[in-house]
């Protein structure tokens, strides 16, 4: 366990990449949104929502991918096993998702208490993902990190293991399968049924349950792929 923590430090030691960039970019996004919405005299009702928060998730996913392609060869060079490296990576991503979830929840509360920073902005309290229960709200913020980061980690591991041809080959296969699936669904007229199933799902299943399941599958897939990867 100590060794996993020592290896986890490989991800966190250069704070500038892991912490400063994602939150810095999100802060800029928030600032720009504040300026824009403050300069609009009277936003139409319901039009004061922004998707600027997405920037935080995207930057984190990019960093997660880089953490594999850059830190993995270094870790291997320092005599760390693939297994230890991967467990440390999972640990960092899970802890980070929870901590960032809590931070976003606190910002959500601040936004609510200040009347949307005085201009009714909904940067953190985005409709549909804004839930009543505090713990649930943290999960709603945290799980998308896991979802995006583990998919991103999986793609990066795939690249390290199989190279550019492996990555593009998998991408081509994915496009082909998705295309065939869409064609099949269209041909059979299944879209109505799929839509019905989606709308019958509980909000929490869609926001937390299913993404968490996909994240877990991607995490396990990454573990299987990295065990035989060489830097």
């Amino acid at each position: 366990m100590t060794r996993i923590l020592d290896v986890a430090r490989m991800h966190t030691i250069a704070r500038v990449g892991q912490l400063d960039w994602p939150w810095g970019i999100m802060a800029i996004s928030l600032g720009v949104n504040l300026l824009i919405f403050a300069s609009v005299d009277e936003a139409a009702p319901g039009k004061n929502t922004t998707g600027g928060l997405l920037s935080l998730y995207i930057v984190c996913a990019i960093i997660a991918a880089a953490s594999i392609s850059q830190v993995f060869p270094f870790a291997l060079g320092m005599g760390v096993t693939r297994r230890t490296f991967y467990l440390a990576t999972v640990l960092v991503n899970v802890v980070q998702a929870v901590v960032y979830g809590v931070l976003l929840y606190l910002l959500n509360l601040i936004e609510g208490a200040t009347g949307g920073f005085g201009i009714e902005l909904r940067f953190f309290r985005i409709p549909y993902i804004d839930v009543d229960n505090g713990l649930l709200q943290i999960a709603v913020y945290a799980v998308p990190f896991l979802f995006l980061n583990f998919l991103s980690v999986f793609v990066s591991v795939w690249y390290v293991r199989f190279g550019m041809n492996g990555l593009l080959g998998a991408g081509a296969a994915l496009i082909l399968v998705t295309g065939l699936l869409v064609a099949l669904i269209t041909w059979q007229g299944w879209f109505g049924a799929i839509w019905q199933w989606l709308s019958s799902q509980h909000q929490i299943s869609l926001l937390v349950g299913w993404p968490a399941l996909v994240a877990a599958a991607a995490a396990l897939g990454g573990m299987a792929a990295i065990r035989r990867a060489n830097a």
Binding site: R3, M10, I13, A14, F74, G79, T81
Partner: protein
């Protein structure tokens, strides 16, 4: 117990056979020279021993265990290579701080004194280091880790002569105080000839030589003199190389040169001199080309 033992070790990359039926043993507390030309299989061998690669046939053990994904065995090894990459955001101090926790025998004072000796800027981004500084960072980790098995794969291509000498001096001094098994892989054979106690010579994936360096020095000689005399003398040995200029011949020979042999050479009017380690390696690895 052996530090590393390989038996019939073979590694193929598709059609290419990088290592071909290699058998040897590394024992404790010795400085080995892993020599050979580019593409001879040196780096592949070190990668296999340090668990960076797998997919072998034959047998390979590190401290009695299989190295691949073996935490316990790998934590006793440090592998410093010229081609090591670092994450773009790392500074020198980050690398050292991580290494301190990863290597159980790490000596922090020694590491800091090496950083000072090599003038390494602690707060500089690793990607902005010059080639020489990058090598110095690797050498610092390799020495301060004090791992029971230490590999240096071409660690000093970057540094200038002064820094290289500093490396040799520090390596020897620290080795004397903290004996361990060191494997130096390099092209600069003459520079390290005095350090190396045992030579492993790879050529096109095959282990051509596995011998103490003293023995090798006595085994490979150059005989020069009149053509007839040299050829008569050479008949009792393996001719690695023969060059003729007019009536004079220079021949690189491999064999046993005891006192009787040396007397015979003198009587024939032949000048017999040992080849340097580098010349011996060159002659041994080019033998095939010459005799073809």
């Amino acid at each position: 117990m052996s530090v590393v033992a390989a038996a019939g070790l073979t590694k193929r990359f598709g059609e290419v056979t990088a290592l071909d039926d290699v058998t040897f043993t590394l024992t404790g507390n010795k400085i080995y020279g892993l020599l050979g030309r580019n593409g001879a299989g040196k780096t592949t061998l070190m990668q296999l021993i340090t668990g960076q690669n797998n997919g072998i046939s034959g047998d390979l053990t590190l401290f009695g265990e299989r190295p691949y994904e073996n935490e316990r065995a790998l934590s006793r090894v440090v592998f410093i290579k010229e081609s090591q990459t670092y994450p773009t955001t790392y500074q020198v101090r980050h690398v050292l701080s991580l290494a301190r926790r990863l290597f159980p025998n790490w000596d922090e004072d020694f590491a800091q004194s090496l950083v000072d000796d090599f003038d390494l800027p602690r707060k500089r981004n690793v990607r902005k280091l010059s080639r020489g500084m990058l090598s110095a960072l690797g050498v610092t980790i390799g020495l301060a880790a004090r791992a029971p098995l230490t590999f240096f794969d071409e660690p000093y291509l970057g540094p200038d002569a002064v820094a290289r000498q500093l490396f040799y001096d520090r390596l020897l001094a620290d080795y004397a105080e903290n004996p361990r098994t060191v494997v130096l892989s390099t092209h600069l054979i003459d520079e390290v000839a005095d350090l190396i106690e045992h030579v492993l010579l790879l050529d096109r994936g095959k282990l051509l030589l596995d011998a103490p360096s003293d023995e090798l020095r006595g085994e490979v000689m150059e005989a020069s003199g009149p053509a007839g005399a040299v050829d008569e003398f050479a008949a009792a040995h393996r001719v690695l190389h023969r060059g003729q200029l007019g009536g004079a011949v220079r021949a690189s020979l491999r064999g046993s040169f005891d006192n009787a042999e040396r007397m015979r050479a003198r009587k024939l009017g032949i000048d017999l001199a040992p080849l340097s380690l580098q010349q011996a390696v060159v002659r041994l690895t080019t033998e095939r080309t010459n005799t073809r």
